[in-house]
Protein backbone atom coordinates (compact mmCIF):
# COMPACT_ATOMS: atom_id res chain seq x y z
CA UNK A 1 0.00 0.00 0.00
CA UNK A 2 1.15 3.53 -0.69
CA UNK A 3 2.54 5.16 2.43
CA UNK A 4 1.16 8.52 3.46
CA UNK A 5 3.99 10.68 4.79
CA UNK A 6 3.86 14.39 5.47
CA UNK A 7 7.25 15.85 4.63
CA UNK A 8 8.29 19.30 5.82
CA UNK A 9 11.61 21.15 5.65
CA UNK A 10 12.38 19.82 9.10
CA UNK A 11 11.34 16.21 8.84
CA UNK A 12 8.95 13.41 7.94
CA UNK A 13 5.76 12.64 9.85
CA UNK A 14 3.05 10.02 9.85
CA UNK A 15 -0.46 10.18 11.22
CA UNK A 16 -2.35 7.95 13.64
CA UNK A 17 -6.11 8.13 13.37
CA UNK A 18 -9.08 6.32 14.86
CA UNK A 19 -12.79 6.86 14.29
CA UNK A 20 -15.93 6.70 16.39
CA UNK A 21 -19.05 6.45 14.29
CA UNK A 22 -22.56 7.00 15.60
CA UNK A 23 -25.12 5.20 13.46
CA UNK A 24 -28.86 5.67 13.94
CA UNK A 25 -30.57 2.30 14.19
CA UNK A 26 -33.37 1.67 11.70
CA UNK A 27 -36.44 0.85 13.83
CA UNK A 28 -40.03 2.06 13.98
CA UNK A 29 -39.91 3.26 17.58
CA UNK A 30 -37.18 4.61 19.84
CA UNK A 31 -34.74 2.45 21.78
CA UNK A 32 -36.36 2.96 25.21
CA UNK A 33 -39.80 4.38 24.38
CA UNK A 34 -42.74 3.88 22.03
CA UNK A 35 -42.37 7.23 20.21
CA UNK A 36 -41.74 7.19 16.45
CA UNK A 37 -38.23 7.59 15.00
CA UNK A 38 -39.54 9.34 11.86
CA UNK A 39 -37.19 12.08 10.62
CA UNK A 40 -38.68 15.46 9.68
CA UNK A 41 -42.00 15.27 11.54
CA UNK A 42 -43.46 18.33 13.30
CA UNK A 43 -41.43 19.63 16.22
CA UNK A 44 -41.73 17.67 19.48
CA UNK A 45 -44.46 15.41 18.05
CA UNK A 46 -42.43 12.20 18.39
CA UNK A 47 -41.69 12.53 22.07
CA UNK A 48 -42.88 10.25 24.85
CA UNK A 49 -42.76 11.11 28.54
CA UNK A 50 -39.73 8.83 28.80
CA UNK A 51 -37.87 10.86 26.14
CA UNK A 52 -38.84 14.10 27.87
CA UNK A 53 -37.28 12.89 31.12
CA UNK A 54 -40.51 13.12 33.11
CA UNK A 55 -40.07 11.90 36.69
CA UNK A 56 -41.12 8.30 37.27
CA UNK A 57 -41.06 7.26 33.62
CA UNK A 58 -39.15 4.04 33.03
CA UNK A 59 -37.24 2.93 29.92
CA UNK A 60 -38.14 -0.37 28.20
CA UNK A 61 -35.69 -1.77 25.68
CA UNK A 62 -36.84 -2.17 22.06
CA UNK A 63 -36.24 -5.73 20.84
CA UNK A 64 -35.69 -4.56 17.27
CA UNK A 65 -32.80 -2.29 18.33
CA UNK A 66 -31.09 -5.28 19.98
CA UNK A 67 -31.75 -7.35 16.87
CA UNK A 68 -30.26 -4.64 14.62
CA UNK A 69 -27.21 -4.25 16.86
CA UNK A 70 -26.48 -7.99 16.82
CA UNK A 71 -26.95 -8.07 13.05
CA UNK A 72 -24.52 -5.17 12.65
CA UNK A 73 -22.02 -6.86 14.97
CA UNK A 74 -22.13 -10.00 12.83
CA UNK A 75 -21.67 -7.83 9.71
CA UNK A 76 -18.54 -6.33 11.30
CA UNK A 77 -17.19 -9.87 11.86
CA UNK A 78 -17.33 -9.11 15.56
CA UNK A 79 -17.82 -10.98 18.81
CA UNK A 80 -21.39 -10.75 20.12
CA UNK A 81 -21.38 -10.43 23.89
CA UNK A 82 -24.13 -12.56 25.35
CA UNK A 83 -23.91 -10.48 28.53
CA UNK A 84 -24.07 -6.70 28.31
CA UNK A 85 -25.09 -3.87 30.59
CA UNK A 86 -26.48 -0.38 30.34
CA UNK A 87 -24.88 2.54 32.15
CA UNK A 88 -25.74 6.14 32.85
CA UNK A 89 -23.45 8.78 31.42
CA UNK A 90 -24.20 11.95 33.36
CA UNK A 91 -23.91 15.39 31.81
CA UNK A 92 -25.98 18.51 31.71
CA UNK A 93 -27.20 19.84 28.41
CA UNK A 94 -30.46 21.32 27.18
CA UNK A 95 -31.11 18.62 24.56
CA UNK A 96 -30.72 15.82 27.14
CA UNK A 97 -33.78 16.17 29.40
CA UNK A 98 -32.94 13.19 31.62
CA UNK A 99 -29.63 14.74 32.61
CA UNK A 100 -27.96 11.49 31.59
CA UNK A 101 -27.63 9.34 28.51
CA UNK A 102 -28.42 5.64 28.78
CA UNK A 103 -25.49 3.98 27.05
CA UNK A 104 -23.20 0.98 27.49
CA UNK A 105 -19.81 1.43 29.08
CA UNK A 106 -17.98 -1.51 30.58
CA UNK A 107 -19.92 -4.31 28.91
CA UNK A 108 -20.94 -3.40 25.33
CA UNK A 109 -23.18 -5.67 23.26
CA UNK A 110 -20.54 -6.10 20.52
CA UNK A 111 -16.82 -6.73 21.05
CA UNK A 112 -13.83 -6.87 18.72
CA UNK A 113 -14.30 -7.16 14.98
CA UNK A 114 -12.64 -6.21 11.70
CA UNK A 115 -13.41 -4.79 8.27
CA UNK A 116 -11.27 -5.05 5.14
CA UNK A 117 -11.01 -1.86 3.12
CA UNK A 118 -10.02 -1.57 -0.56
CA UNK A 119 -7.62 1.20 -1.45
CA UNK A 120 -7.19 3.11 -4.69
CA UNK A 121 -3.89 1.42 -5.52
CA UNK A 122 -5.62 -1.99 -5.55
CA UNK A 123 -4.32 -3.13 -2.16
CA UNK A 124 -6.49 -3.83 0.85
CA UNK A 125 -6.04 -3.38 4.59
CA UNK A 126 -7.77 -4.70 7.69
CA UNK A 127 -9.18 -2.12 10.10
CA UNK A 128 -9.84 -3.45 13.59
CA UNK A 129 -13.05 -2.64 15.41
CA UNK A 130 -12.59 -2.21 19.15
CA UNK A 131 -16.25 -2.41 20.16
CA UNK A 132 -19.77 -1.36 19.37
CA UNK A 133 -22.35 -0.36 21.95
CA UNK A 134 -25.96 0.84 21.82
CA UNK A 135 -27.31 4.01 23.39
CA UNK A 136 -29.91 6.74 23.02
CA UNK A 137 -29.51 9.83 20.82
CA UNK A 138 -29.95 13.36 22.21
CA UNK A 139 -32.45 15.96 20.97
CA UNK A 140 -31.58 18.66 18.49
CA UNK A 141 -30.58 22.21 19.43
CA UNK A 142 -31.08 25.07 17.02
CA UNK A 143 -28.89 28.06 17.76
CA UNK A 144 -29.46 30.33 14.78
CA UNK A 145 -33.11 31.29 15.27
CA UNK A 146 -32.38 33.92 17.91
CA UNK A 147 -29.31 35.80 19.19
CA UNK A 148 -30.08 35.02 22.84
CA UNK A 149 -32.02 31.77 22.82
CA UNK A 150 -31.55 28.16 21.77
CA UNK A 151 -34.51 26.10 20.54
CA UNK A 152 -34.84 22.43 21.43
CA UNK A 153 -36.65 19.73 19.46
CA UNK A 154 -36.77 16.37 21.25
CA UNK A 155 -37.96 14.29 18.29
CA UNK A 156 -34.48 12.77 17.98
CA UNK A 157 -34.08 12.28 21.75
CA UNK A 158 -34.15 8.56 22.44
CA UNK A 159 -33.64 7.30 18.88
CA UNK A 160 -31.39 4.22 19.04
CA UNK A 161 -27.73 4.64 18.15
CA UNK A 162 -24.93 2.18 17.53
CA UNK A 163 -21.52 3.63 18.34
CA UNK A 164 -18.75 1.85 16.49
CA UNK A 165 -15.22 2.47 17.77
CA UNK A 166 -12.21 1.53 15.63
CA UNK A 167 -8.65 0.91 16.72
CA UNK A 168 -6.24 3.72 15.72
CA UNK A 169 -5.40 1.84 12.52
CA UNK A 170 -5.72 4.61 9.93
CA UNK A 171 -2.47 5.99 8.52
CA UNK A 172 -3.94 8.25 5.83
CA UNK A 173 -7.09 10.27 5.05
CA UNK A 174 -7.79 7.88 2.16
CA UNK A 175 -7.93 4.88 4.50
CA UNK A 176 -10.46 6.64 6.73
CA UNK A 177 -12.54 7.58 3.67
CA UNK A 178 -12.44 4.02 2.31
CA UNK A 179 -13.48 2.70 5.72
CA UNK A 180 -16.49 5.00 6.02
CA UNK A 181 -17.67 4.04 2.52
CA UNK A 182 -17.24 0.37 3.29
CA UNK A 183 -19.01 0.67 6.64
CA UNK A 184 -21.89 2.56 5.01
CA UNK A 185 -22.16 -0.09 2.33
CA UNK A 186 -22.28 -2.90 4.94
CA UNK A 187 -24.89 -1.07 7.07
CA UNK A 188 -27.08 -0.52 4.00
CA UNK A 189 -26.77 -4.17 2.95
CA UNK A 190 -27.79 -5.18 6.47
CA UNK A 191 -30.58 -2.59 6.61
CA UNK A 192 -29.55 -1.56 10.13
CA UNK A 193 -28.71 2.12 9.39
CA UNK A 194 -29.39 4.20 6.28
CA UNK A 195 -25.88 5.71 6.43
CA UNK A 196 -26.93 9.19 5.34
CA UNK A 197 -24.22 11.42 6.76
CA UNK A 198 -25.82 14.62 5.46
CA UNK A 199 -29.05 13.90 7.37
CA UNK A 200 -27.04 13.03 10.46
CA UNK A 201 -28.07 9.39 10.63
CA UNK A 202 -24.36 8.53 10.50
CA UNK A 203 -21.96 10.90 12.34
CA UNK A 204 -18.25 10.61 12.74
CA UNK A 205 -15.84 11.67 15.50
CA UNK A 206 -12.23 11.72 14.33
CA UNK A 207 -9.21 11.22 16.60
CA UNK A 208 -5.85 12.34 15.21
CA UNK A 209 -2.26 12.43 16.41
CA UNK A 210 1.07 12.49 14.56
CA UNK A 211 4.54 11.06 15.19
CA UNK A 212 7.93 11.20 13.50
CA UNK A 213 7.93 8.83 10.54
CA UNK A 214 8.99 5.31 11.53
CA UNK A 215 8.75 5.83 15.28
CA UNK A 216 6.38 3.83 17.47
CA UNK A 217 5.53 6.47 20.07
CA UNK A 218 1.96 7.61 20.65
CA UNK A 219 1.52 11.34 21.06
CA UNK A 220 -1.41 13.38 22.36
CA UNK A 221 -4.51 13.17 20.20
CA UNK A 222 -7.27 15.64 19.49
CA UNK A 223 -10.84 14.75 18.73
CA UNK A 224 -13.02 16.40 16.11
CA UNK A 225 -16.72 15.93 16.83
CA UNK A 226 -19.57 15.34 14.39
CA UNK A 227 -17.84 15.61 11.05
CA UNK A 228 -20.67 15.07 8.58
CA UNK A 229 -19.31 13.82 5.27
CA UNK A 230 -16.65 11.40 4.05
CA UNK A 231 -14.88 14.25 2.28
CA UNK A 232 -14.85 16.43 5.40
CA UNK A 233 -13.48 13.56 7.50
CA UNK A 234 -10.58 13.22 5.08
CA UNK A 235 -9.97 16.98 5.05
CA UNK A 236 -10.21 17.19 8.85
CA UNK A 237 -7.55 14.50 9.30
CA UNK A 238 -5.17 16.22 6.91
CA UNK A 239 -5.64 19.69 8.37
CA UNK A 240 -5.42 18.55 11.99
CA UNK A 241 -2.27 16.50 11.28
CA UNK A 242 -0.63 19.54 9.68
CA UNK A 243 -1.55 21.68 12.68
CA UNK A 244 0.09 19.18 15.05
CA UNK A 245 3.26 19.04 12.96
CA UNK A 246 3.42 22.81 12.85
CA UNK A 247 3.09 23.04 16.65
CA UNK A 248 5.74 20.36 17.26
CA UNK A 249 8.22 21.80 14.76
CA UNK A 250 7.93 25.18 16.45
CA UNK A 251 8.72 23.68 19.84
CA UNK A 252 5.13 23.64 21.13
CA UNK A 253 3.03 20.93 22.73
CA UNK A 254 -0.42 19.60 21.82
CA UNK A 255 -3.02 19.44 24.57
CA UNK A 256 -5.81 16.90 24.42
CA UNK A 257 -8.94 18.75 23.44
CA UNK A 258 -12.13 18.57 21.46
CA UNK A 259 -12.09 20.53 18.24
CA UNK A 260 -14.49 21.35 15.46
CA UNK A 261 -13.77 21.11 11.75
CA UNK A 262 -14.93 24.04 9.66
CA UNK A 263 -15.43 22.90 6.05
CA UNK A 264 -15.41 26.51 4.78
CA UNK A 265 -11.84 27.20 5.92
CA UNK A 266 -10.78 23.54 6.03
CA UNK A 267 -9.25 24.12 9.45
CA UNK A 268 -10.10 22.96 12.96
CA UNK A 269 -10.71 25.20 15.93
CA UNK A 270 -11.04 24.41 19.60
CA UNK A 271 -14.55 24.05 20.97
CA UNK A 272 -15.41 26.06 24.02
CA UNK A 273 -14.28 23.84 26.87
CA UNK A 274 -17.25 22.48 28.74
CA UNK A 275 -16.14 22.61 32.35
CA UNK A 276 -15.93 19.16 33.91
CA UNK A 277 -17.35 17.86 30.63
CA UNK A 278 -15.41 14.63 30.91
CA UNK A 279 -16.59 13.87 34.43
CA UNK A 280 -19.42 11.64 33.28
CA UNK A 281 -19.75 9.66 36.54
CA UNK A 282 -20.83 6.48 34.79
CA UNK A 283 -22.73 3.98 36.89
CA UNK A 284 -24.87 0.91 36.08
CA UNK A 285 -28.35 1.92 34.92
CA UNK A 286 -30.67 1.08 37.83
CA UNK A 287 -33.79 1.03 35.63
CA UNK A 288 -32.54 -1.76 33.35
CA UNK A 289 -31.24 -5.17 34.40
CA UNK A 290 -28.37 -6.67 32.36
CA UNK A 291 -29.13 -7.76 28.80
CA UNK A 292 -28.58 -11.48 28.32
CA UNK A 293 -28.79 -12.93 24.83
CA UNK A 294 -29.36 -16.60 24.08
CA UNK A 295 -27.42 -18.55 21.44
CA UNK A 296 -30.75 -19.18 19.80
CA UNK A 297 -31.44 -15.44 19.41
CA UNK A 298 -27.97 -14.79 17.96
CA UNK A 299 -28.00 -17.79 15.63
CA UNK A 300 -31.40 -16.89 14.29
CA UNK A 301 -30.01 -13.50 13.24
CA UNK A 302 -26.88 -15.13 11.84
CA UNK A 303 -29.07 -17.27 9.61
CA UNK A 304 -30.98 -14.23 8.37
CA UNK A 305 -27.82 -12.41 7.23
CA UNK A 306 -27.75 -11.38 3.58
CA UNK A 307 -24.67 -11.85 1.42
CA UNK A 308 -22.41 -8.89 2.30
CA UNK A 309 -20.44 -6.79 -0.21
CA UNK A 310 -17.13 -8.66 0.20
CA UNK A 311 -18.71 -12.08 -0.31
CA UNK A 312 -20.75 -10.85 -3.26
CA UNK A 313 -17.71 -9.24 -4.83
CA UNK A 314 -15.67 -12.45 -4.48
CA UNK A 315 -18.50 -14.45 -6.05
CA UNK A 316 -18.86 -12.04 -8.99
CA UNK A 317 -15.12 -12.29 -9.66
CA UNK A 318 -14.97 -16.06 -9.34
CA UNK A 319 -18.23 -17.16 -10.90
CA UNK A 320 -19.04 -14.38 -13.35
CA UNK A 321 -15.51 -13.44 -14.37
CA UNK A 322 -15.71 -9.75 -13.45
CA UNK A 323 -12.54 -7.77 -12.78
CA UNK A 324 -11.90 -6.82 -9.13
CA UNK A 325 -12.56 -3.17 -9.96
CA UNK A 326 -15.86 -3.78 -11.75
CA UNK A 327 -17.03 -6.12 -9.00
CA UNK A 328 -16.18 -3.54 -6.31
CA UNK A 329 -18.08 -0.76 -8.08
CA UNK A 330 -21.12 -2.95 -8.70
CA UNK A 331 -21.19 -4.39 -5.15
CA UNK A 332 -20.85 -1.11 -3.27
CA UNK A 333 -24.59 -0.69 -3.42
CA UNK A 334 -26.92 -3.63 -2.92
CA UNK A 335 -29.55 -2.38 -5.38
CA UNK A 336 -26.93 -2.08 -8.12
CA UNK A 337 -25.57 -5.54 -7.37
CA UNK A 338 -29.09 -7.05 -7.46
CA UNK A 339 -29.89 -5.26 -10.72
CA UNK A 340 -26.66 -6.49 -12.26
CA UNK A 341 -27.25 -10.05 -11.19
CA UNK A 342 -30.72 -10.02 -12.69
CA UNK A 343 -29.44 -8.51 -15.94
CA UNK A 344 -26.47 -10.87 -16.22
CA UNK A 345 -28.51 -14.02 -15.65
CA UNK A 346 -27.93 -16.30 -18.62
CA UNK A 347 -25.94 -13.67 -20.55
CA UNK A 348 -22.32 -12.57 -20.93
CA UNK A 349 -21.75 -11.10 -17.43
CA UNK A 350 -18.64 -9.11 -18.32
CA UNK A 351 -20.44 -7.44 -21.24
CA UNK A 352 -23.46 -6.73 -19.01
CA UNK A 353 -21.11 -5.14 -16.44
CA UNK A 354 -19.59 -2.92 -19.15
CA UNK A 355 -22.99 -1.80 -20.34
CA UNK A 356 -24.22 -1.23 -16.80
CA UNK A 357 -21.24 0.88 -15.76
CA UNK A 358 -21.01 2.67 -19.09
CA UNK A 359 -24.07 3.61 -21.14
CA UNK A 360 -26.58 2.56 -18.49
CA UNK A 361 -25.26 4.70 -15.59
CA UNK A 362 -24.58 7.55 -18.02
CA UNK A 363 -28.25 7.39 -19.09
CA UNK A 364 -29.47 7.45 -15.44
CA UNK A 365 -27.18 10.40 -14.71
CA UNK A 366 -28.37 12.28 -17.72
CA UNK A 367 -32.02 11.69 -16.89
CA UNK A 368 -31.32 12.31 -13.16
CA UNK A 369 -33.04 9.03 -12.30
CA UNK A 370 -32.55 6.57 -9.44
CA UNK A 371 -31.85 2.96 -10.38
CA UNK A 372 -35.31 1.86 -9.25
CA UNK A 373 -36.92 4.31 -11.71
CA UNK A 374 -34.84 3.22 -14.70
CA UNK A 375 -36.81 2.96 -17.97
CA UNK A 376 -34.50 0.12 -18.97
CA UNK A 377 -35.22 -2.98 -16.90
CA UNK A 378 -32.54 -5.46 -15.83
CA UNK A 379 -34.07 -8.13 -18.09
CA UNK A 380 -34.04 -5.81 -21.10
CA UNK A 381 -30.41 -4.84 -20.52
CA UNK A 382 -29.56 -8.55 -20.45
CA UNK A 383 -31.51 -9.14 -23.67
CA UNK A 384 -29.67 -6.31 -25.40
CA UNK A 385 -26.33 -7.88 -24.54
CA UNK A 386 -27.66 -11.22 -25.80
CA UNK A 387 -28.55 -9.64 -29.17
CA UNK A 388 -24.95 -8.42 -29.47
CA UNK A 389 -23.26 -11.66 -28.42
CA UNK A 390 -25.44 -13.69 -30.76
CA UNK A 391 -24.57 -11.33 -33.63
CA UNK A 392 -28.15 -10.20 -34.24
CA UNK A 393 -27.02 -6.58 -33.99
CA UNK A 394 -23.55 -5.04 -34.00
CA UNK A 395 -22.10 -2.83 -31.27
CA UNK A 396 -22.87 0.40 -33.07
CA UNK A 397 -26.54 -0.48 -33.65
CA UNK A 398 -26.73 -1.57 -30.00
CA UNK A 399 -26.01 1.99 -28.88
CA UNK A 400 -28.93 3.24 -30.95
CA UNK A 401 -31.18 0.45 -29.67
CA UNK A 402 -30.20 1.30 -26.10
CA UNK A 403 -31.10 4.97 -26.64
CA UNK A 404 -34.52 3.86 -27.93
CA UNK A 405 -34.97 1.52 -24.94
CA UNK A 406 -34.24 4.41 -22.57
CA UNK A 407 -36.73 6.56 -24.44
CA UNK A 408 -39.58 4.08 -24.80
CA UNK A 409 -38.96 1.47 -22.09
CA UNK A 410 -39.54 -1.23 -24.71
CA UNK A 411 -37.61 -4.46 -25.00
CA UNK A 412 -34.71 -4.58 -27.46
CA UNK A 413 -36.05 -7.50 -29.54
CA UNK A 414 -39.15 -5.52 -30.38
CA UNK A 415 -37.17 -2.40 -31.29
CA UNK A 416 -34.77 -4.35 -33.51
CA UNK A 417 -37.62 -6.21 -35.20
CA UNK A 418 -39.85 -3.19 -35.81
CA UNK A 419 -37.10 -0.94 -37.08
CA UNK A 420 -35.33 -3.62 -39.15
CA UNK A 421 -32.02 -3.17 -37.37
CA UNK A 422 -30.81 -6.76 -37.63
CA UNK A 423 -27.31 -6.80 -38.92
CA UNK A 424 -26.55 -8.27 -42.31
CA UNK A 425 -24.38 -11.35 -41.94
CA UNK A 426 -25.41 -12.69 -45.34
CA UNK A 427 -22.02 -12.78 -47.07
CA UNK A 428 -23.64 -12.69 -50.50
CA UNK A 429 -25.31 -9.35 -49.87
CA UNK A 430 -22.17 -7.85 -48.38
CA UNK A 431 -20.06 -9.21 -51.20
CA UNK A 432 -22.31 -7.46 -53.68
CA UNK A 433 -21.86 -4.13 -51.88
CA UNK A 434 -18.10 -4.61 -51.89
CA UNK A 435 -17.95 -5.49 -55.56
CA UNK A 436 -19.95 -2.38 -56.43
CA UNK A 437 -17.71 -0.20 -54.28
CA UNK A 438 -14.45 -1.57 -55.67
CA UNK A 439 -15.73 -1.04 -59.21
CA UNK A 440 -16.73 2.59 -58.54
CA UNK A 441 -13.60 3.54 -56.58
CA UNK A 442 -10.88 2.21 -58.83
CA UNK A 443 -8.50 5.07 -57.84
CA UNK A 444 -8.58 4.17 -54.19
CA UNK A 445 -8.25 0.48 -54.98
CA UNK A 446 -5.10 1.20 -56.98
CA UNK A 447 -3.71 3.46 -54.24
CA UNK A 448 -4.38 0.81 -51.60
CA UNK A 449 -2.70 -1.89 -53.60
CA UNK A 450 0.19 0.54 -54.23
CA UNK A 451 0.87 0.67 -50.45
CA UNK A 452 -1.58 3.19 -48.95
CA UNK A 453 -2.92 0.60 -46.47
CA UNK A 454 -4.46 3.36 -44.35
CA UNK A 455 -7.27 3.47 -46.89
CA UNK A 456 -8.65 0.19 -45.56
CA UNK A 457 -10.70 2.03 -42.96
CA UNK A 458 -12.26 4.15 -45.69
CA UNK A 459 -13.48 1.02 -47.51
CA UNK A 460 -14.96 -0.36 -44.28
CA UNK A 461 -16.67 2.96 -43.62
CA UNK A 462 -18.21 3.07 -47.10
CA UNK A 463 -19.64 -0.42 -46.79
CA UNK A 464 -21.07 0.28 -43.33
CA UNK A 465 -22.66 3.41 -44.72
CA UNK A 466 -24.11 1.55 -47.70
CA UNK A 467 -25.60 -1.04 -45.35
CA UNK A 468 -27.00 1.69 -43.05
CA UNK A 469 -24.81 0.39 -40.25
CA UNK A 470 -26.33 -3.05 -40.35
CA UNK A 471 -23.45 -5.02 -41.89
CA UNK A 472 -21.54 -7.25 -39.53
CA UNK A 473 -18.17 -5.48 -39.23
CA UNK A 474 -16.19 -8.74 -38.89
CA UNK A 475 -17.68 -10.10 -42.11
CA UNK A 476 -17.01 -6.80 -43.91
CA UNK A 477 -13.40 -6.80 -42.75
CA UNK A 478 -12.76 -10.37 -43.78
CA UNK A 479 -14.35 -9.99 -47.22
CA UNK A 480 -12.63 -6.68 -47.95
CA UNK A 481 -9.22 -8.13 -47.02
CA UNK A 482 -9.83 -11.04 -49.35
CA UNK A 483 -11.02 -8.93 -52.28
CA UNK A 484 -8.43 -6.16 -51.98
CA UNK A 485 -5.71 -8.80 -51.85
Amino acid sequence: MTEYVITTEKGKWEIICGLEIHCQIISQSKIFSGASTEFGDDVNENVSFVDAGMPGMLPTLNKECVHQAVKTGLGLNAVINKYSEFSRKNYFYADLPQGYQITQFQYPIVGEGAIDIDLADGTSKTIRIERMHIEQDAGKSIHDMSPTKSFIDLNRAGVGLMEIVTRPDFRSPDEAGAFLKKLRSILRYLGTCDGNMDEGSMRCDVNVSVRPYGSDELRTRCEMKNVNSVKFVMQAIESEAKRHIDVYENGGTITQETRQFDPATQTTKVMRKKEFAHDYRYFPEPDLPPLILSDEFINKIRNELVELPDAKKARFIKELGLTAYDAAVICENKETADFFEKAAKGHDAKKVANWLMGDFFAMLNEKKLELKDSPVSAENLGSLVELITSNVINGKTAKDVFALMAETGENPEKIVEERGLKQVTDTGAIEKLIDDLLASAADNVAAYRGGKVGLFGWFVGQIMKQSQGKANPQVVNALLKKKLG
Partner: protein, 95 residues
Protein backbone atom coordinates in the same frame (compact mmCIF):
# COMPACT_ATOMS: atom_id res chain seq x y z
CA UNK B 1 -13.54 8.37 52.49
CA UNK B 2 -14.88 11.71 53.72
CA UNK B 3 -15.42 14.51 51.22
CA UNK B 4 -14.27 18.11 51.60
CA UNK B 5 -15.97 21.39 50.76
CA UNK B 6 -14.37 21.52 47.28
CA UNK B 7 -15.88 18.16 46.41
CA UNK B 8 -19.28 19.34 47.57
CA UNK B 9 -18.97 22.45 45.41
CA UNK B 10 -17.96 20.38 42.41
CA UNK B 11 -20.79 17.90 42.79
CA UNK B 12 -23.26 20.75 43.23
CA UNK B 13 -21.98 22.32 40.02
CA UNK B 14 -22.21 19.05 38.07
CA UNK B 15 -25.79 18.60 39.29
CA UNK B 16 -26.64 22.25 38.60
CA UNK B 17 -27.74 22.69 42.23
CA UNK B 18 -27.14 25.89 44.12
CA UNK B 19 -25.51 25.35 47.50
CA UNK B 20 -24.94 28.60 49.36
CA UNK B 21 -21.55 29.04 50.99
CA UNK B 22 -23.04 29.04 54.48
CA UNK B 23 -24.70 25.69 53.70
CA UNK B 24 -21.47 24.03 52.47
CA UNK B 25 -20.40 22.76 55.86
CA UNK B 26 -23.83 21.24 56.62
CA UNK B 27 -24.06 19.63 53.19
CA UNK B 28 -20.59 18.17 53.57
CA UNK B 29 -21.61 16.63 56.92
CA UNK B 30 -24.74 15.14 55.34
CA UNK B 31 -22.69 13.68 52.48
CA UNK B 32 -20.23 12.17 54.90
CA UNK B 33 -22.98 10.63 57.01
CA UNK B 34 -24.33 8.88 53.94
CA UNK B 35 -20.87 7.79 52.84
CA UNK B 36 -20.05 6.44 56.29
CA UNK B 37 -23.28 4.52 56.34
CA UNK B 38 -22.57 2.98 52.94
CA UNK B 39 -19.02 2.35 54.06
CA UNK B 40 -20.36 -0.19 56.57
CA UNK B 41 -20.85 -2.51 53.60
CA UNK B 42 -17.08 -2.86 53.23
CA UNK B 43 -17.06 -4.89 56.43
CA UNK B 44 -18.42 -7.76 54.37
CA UNK B 45 -15.82 -9.87 52.63
CA UNK B 46 -16.65 -9.77 48.90
CA UNK B 47 -13.59 -11.61 47.56
CA UNK B 48 -14.64 -13.85 44.68
CA UNK B 49 -18.10 -12.31 44.53
CA UNK B 50 -19.10 -10.88 41.16
CA UNK B 51 -20.40 -7.29 41.25
CA UNK B 52 -24.18 -7.12 41.47
CA UNK B 53 -25.58 -4.86 38.79
CA UNK B 54 -29.21 -5.35 39.58
CA UNK B 55 -31.16 -6.94 42.40
CA UNK B 56 -33.56 -8.16 39.76
CA UNK B 57 -32.13 -11.44 38.52
CA UNK B 58 -34.45 -11.63 35.56
CA UNK B 59 -32.91 -10.84 32.18
CA UNK B 60 -34.08 -7.65 30.60
CA UNK B 61 -37.60 -7.86 29.17
CA UNK B 62 -37.71 -6.65 25.58
CA UNK B 63 -40.47 -4.54 24.07
CA UNK B 64 -41.90 -5.11 20.58
CA UNK B 65 -41.00 -2.42 18.07
CA UNK B 66 -44.32 -0.56 17.88
CA UNK B 67 -45.26 3.10 18.03
CA UNK B 68 -47.28 3.53 21.20
CA UNK B 69 -46.49 7.11 22.24
CA UNK B 70 -46.07 10.60 20.81
CA UNK B 71 -48.24 13.14 19.02
CA UNK B 72 -48.79 14.99 22.25
CA UNK B 73 -46.47 17.97 21.85
CA UNK B 74 -48.83 20.10 23.93
CA UNK B 75 -48.53 17.87 26.98
CA UNK B 76 -44.80 17.45 26.47
CA UNK B 77 -44.35 21.22 26.43
CA UNK B 78 -46.84 21.87 29.25
CA UNK B 79 -44.18 22.25 31.95
CA UNK B 80 -41.64 24.10 29.81
CA UNK B 81 -40.61 27.43 31.39
CA UNK B 82 -40.51 28.87 27.88
CA UNK B 83 -41.64 27.67 24.46
CA UNK B 84 -41.93 29.14 20.97
CA UNK B 85 -43.06 27.62 17.66
CA UNK B 86 -43.42 24.25 19.39
CA UNK B 87 -39.81 24.23 20.61
CA UNK B 88 -38.49 24.28 24.16
CA UNK B 89 -36.66 27.59 24.54
CA UNK B 90 -33.55 27.87 26.71
CA UNK B 91 -30.86 30.51 27.19
CA UNK B 92 -28.43 30.33 24.30
CA UNK B 93 -26.09 27.34 24.59
CA UNK B 94 -23.60 27.44 21.78
CA UNK B 95 -20.41 25.48 21.51
Amino acid sequence: MPVDNDTVRRIAFLSRLKVDTDKLEDTKEEFNKILNWVEELSEVNTDNVAPLVSVNNESLALRDDAITAGHNAKEILANAPAQEFGYFVVPKVVE
